[in-house]
Amino acid sequence: MNRESLLRQIGWFAAAVGLALFLTVLVTLPSGAPPLTTIFVLFQGGLGSLSKFGQALSVWVPLTLCSVGLLIPFTARLWNIGVEGQVIMGAIFCTAALRPFDGGGAGQIILALAAAALGGALWALLSGLLRVFGRVHEIFSGLGLNFVALGVILWLIFGPWKRPGIASMSGTEPLDVSLWLAKVGSLSVTWAGLGLALAAIVLAAVLLHRTGWGLKLRAVGENPKAATLFALGPRRRLLQAFLLCGAMAGLAGATQVLAVYHRLLPSISSSYGYTGLLVGMMASYRLGLAPFICLFFAVLNVGSIQLPLQLGLDSSLSGVIQGVMVLSVFIVQGVRLWLAKRGEAA
């Protein structure tokens, strides 16, 4: 609801991007890489061909599920940093649901997706309960639970769920092909994945902007005391926010298992949870921008493998760029605020 001219906003955003670009160049200089070429290679690597774009999309799906999910707690001023663990739990539950079957079809897949959503939601609920009834800040409970989840998945993969004979990085026994999600033509992105991501966006949009629920959630985040006066049931709202986000994160985990790796891996989450948080912040907690930023980050991710292939650069540069981007957004916001204050004072 801010009545500032669109032009202004775009201007500020441009400023942020400019700053980010500048900082990136600053970082790449010592490595002796030609900055602009580097950036070009990155994007070409992510958008260069249809199949590349397909890969980018297949990264976009779980990333979007995470960041869109995160926007729900963000609306209530909640920092569900535990999303990483929730992705992992989703993947675990998904795998668990499929273990009894060595083959199958839509039925099993739907079951697996449901299980994944459940797993993520439950893991999120833990943070939620700790926050609402124990007043434990969700950041710390979330962090803790992330590591616990990581411990659990490693233990499962190298323990109870290990392949006959060999337990290894390569994770559990791969799923039967009949349980893989169907790809879009020759692209590596799947129909189901795209469907889920889009559904998540729509759901979040409707929930947050079209329903009383979203309004209540915002209100709770705005001022819990007043929320009590209005009898909005702050606690229930917060828990629901956690559950929803957890469920979406869980689905992200499921897509990792069913669409990308076709089995459970130690680092199944690809730390999309954390990246999702970055996206949420860069979108300054608004839904509108999130999917596009996700796409942008996905392109960076996919393009990054061209850095070692073509320029002999370390591909973690893409991560650097992402971080710098978000940081610049905050810096610009701060400067803006400060200038405003100066204005008042004068």
């Binding site: 609801m1 009383g212 309004l215 915002r218 705005e222 001022n223 007043a226 009590t228 006066l229 009898a231």
Partner: protein, 500 residues
């Protein structure tokens, strides 16, 4: 000698201080009085360098400054004691004493502290955390600290809220000696006229950010009071609605105990009839806040029973009471009752989910027509003036609310809007609602109550009915005079009859 000239302080829309000039001379005790929000604290904070005035100048010891900083103020011997003690609860006494002072070893600090507290026959254990002290002790410690820093101008912002009478007496004796013998300047910000009358060589009266007058002895209490609370607003005021004496009580409290975060009170026995307006009078922290918050279920009710419209409630669950028609409107609207970054429409939607469809219509009828809330429907609550905030809140209260609990209904409202608000509230009462409200503005209470419940020292001192409720009687009761003295014994009986 300190001269404040034409001090202005603006907080957003609020003019906390509006062109104040005054002179403080050494060796004298001043009292600064005024209703809540008059701007007393703000002015004092400016003087102590804790707030930069929007405009105006301060002349200290011949030095002319646009504003002071805490450090500067200290150098000029200005020290301020806060309404809520401004100290570090988690840290031990001696550190609280030392912080901000020139470097010293712990031993030195402990010695000085001991010596000072001996002089004021107080006693502090240096290593005890301040959180374990009473408010009074914390105030005293602050005072010692200021003296130790060589403060010659002492500002005490309502120092006597929540300290015992004898502590208070000691404090006043101390201030006397400081002023008379050591030639200190003392400024005493207070709500309690008795204190002002007893102590002050001159009384500054503030009202809505302005300095309305400076009184000097001999004091005329009536004048003081009328100056403080101003003339009643002009224009016709709706008459008090009739109360049907025969109707069954709307509210009946039986041996109710309330427990707030700070203190607890009770057992309380009190009844209210439909259509009744009951004003709560009392100095800050005398218990009226807890009374309201407890009644609506925001503070806990460890014991007793509430009977609402004949239904008995053993516990005061907020939701249940709310469904039973209990509505609470806090004084601090933005902090407690509104969502700063949500707009009016959204507030309406939140309050009346079922009227989501015709909310525009609702807005026009309710907010604009009835409450002439003149603001664009998508303004943020945070951008509303105090008056409009109150209008919004009132318009959000459903018409069938049976029991209205309000803190300072007209806080921050000008005379005109106050009248509107009151007429509206009385209309509700006429339609059978019961209103229990609290206001620091005594005149307001007296004008708009069938009965006045006076609180003193965290307890219900007396309930006075309209005829007997005058500035004198209620004022006296608020200041702690026993009911017996205020009205003869016969009246006392009646008064207590009120609180059955």
């Amino acid at each position: 000698m300190i001269v404040l000239s034409d001090i202005h302080k603006q907080y957003g829309r609020v003019r906390a201080n509006d062109g104040i000039s005054l002179t403080l001379e050494p060796g004298r005790i001043y009292a600064l009085v005024g209703e809540n929000g008059a701007g007393k604290s703000t002015l004092m904070r400016v003087l102590a360098g804790h707030t930069r005035p929007t405009s105006g100048s301060i002349e200290v010891n011949g030095e002319r400054l646009s504003h002071l900083t805490p450090a500067l103020a200290r150098r000029h011997g200005v020290g301020m004691l806060y309404q809520d003690p401004l100290d570090f609860p988690a840290m031990p006494v001696w550190e609280n004493f030392q912080l901000g002072a020139p470097r010293r070893t712990k031993r030195q600090v402990v010695d000085i502290l001991g010596e000072l507290s001996f002089r004021l026959d107080a006693c502090f254990l240096p290593d005890e955390p301040v959180s374990s002290l009473t408010v009074g002790e914390r105030q005293l410690l602050e005072l010692l600290r200021l003296l130790d820093l060589g403060a010659t101008t002492l500002i005490l912002d309502e120092p006597t809220t929540g300290i015992t009478p004898e502590q208070k007496q000691d404090l006043f004796n101390l201030l006397m000696t400081l002023a008379r013998e050591e030639n200190h300047t003392v400024v005493l910000v207070t709500h309690k006229l008795s204190e002002a009358l007893e102590m002050a060589d001159a009384i500054f009266v503030m009202r809505q950010g302005r300095l309305v007058c400076t009184l000097t002895p001999p004091y005329d209490e009536h004048e003081l009071v009328s100056r403080m609370f101003g003339e009643a607003a002009r224009g016709e005021v709706a008459p008090m609605p009739e109360v049907d004496e025969t109707a069954a009580p709307r509210l009946d409290m039986r041996d109710v105990l309330f427990a707030g975060p700070k203190y607890s009170m009770g057992p309380l026995n009190f009844t209210a009839r439909p259509g009744e307006c009951i004003g709560l009078a009392g100095l800050d922290g005398s218990g009226q806040e807890l009374f309201l918050r407890g009644l609506c279920g925001l503070d806990r009710m460890p014991g007793g029973k509430l009977v609402l419209n004949g239904r008995e409630y053993g516990s005061n669950d907020f939701k249940i009471l709310r469904r039973a028609g209990v509505q609470f409107v806090p004084a601090d609207r933005l902090q407690l009752a509104l969502f700063p970054a949500l707009n009016l429409m959204e507030h309406i939607t939140l309050a009346f989910p079922d009227r989501k469809e015709d909310r525009q219509k609702f807005y026009d009828e309710q907010c604009v027509e009835r409450f002439n809330l003149r603001a664009h429907p998508d303004t943020h609550a945070s951008e509303l003036s105090g008056g409009n905030q109150q209008r919004l809140l009132l318009s959000l209260i459903p018409d069938d609310a049976a029991l209205l609990l309000m803190e300072h209904p007209t806080r921050g409202l000008d005379a005109g809007s106050s009248r509107q608000v009151w007429n509206h509230l009385k209309e509700r009462c006429a339609n059978g609602a019961t209103l229990i409200y609290f206001s620091p503005d005594l005149e307001e209470v007296l004008e708009h109550s069938h009965r006045v419940a006076v609180f003193y020292d965290r307890g219900l001192a007396a309930v006075v009915d309209r005829e007997r409720a005058t500035m004198e009687t209620v004022g006296a009761l608020m200041a702690g005079k026993p009911a017996a003295e205020v009205f003869g014994n016969r009246a006392k009986a009646a008064a207590e009859g009120g609180a059955r």
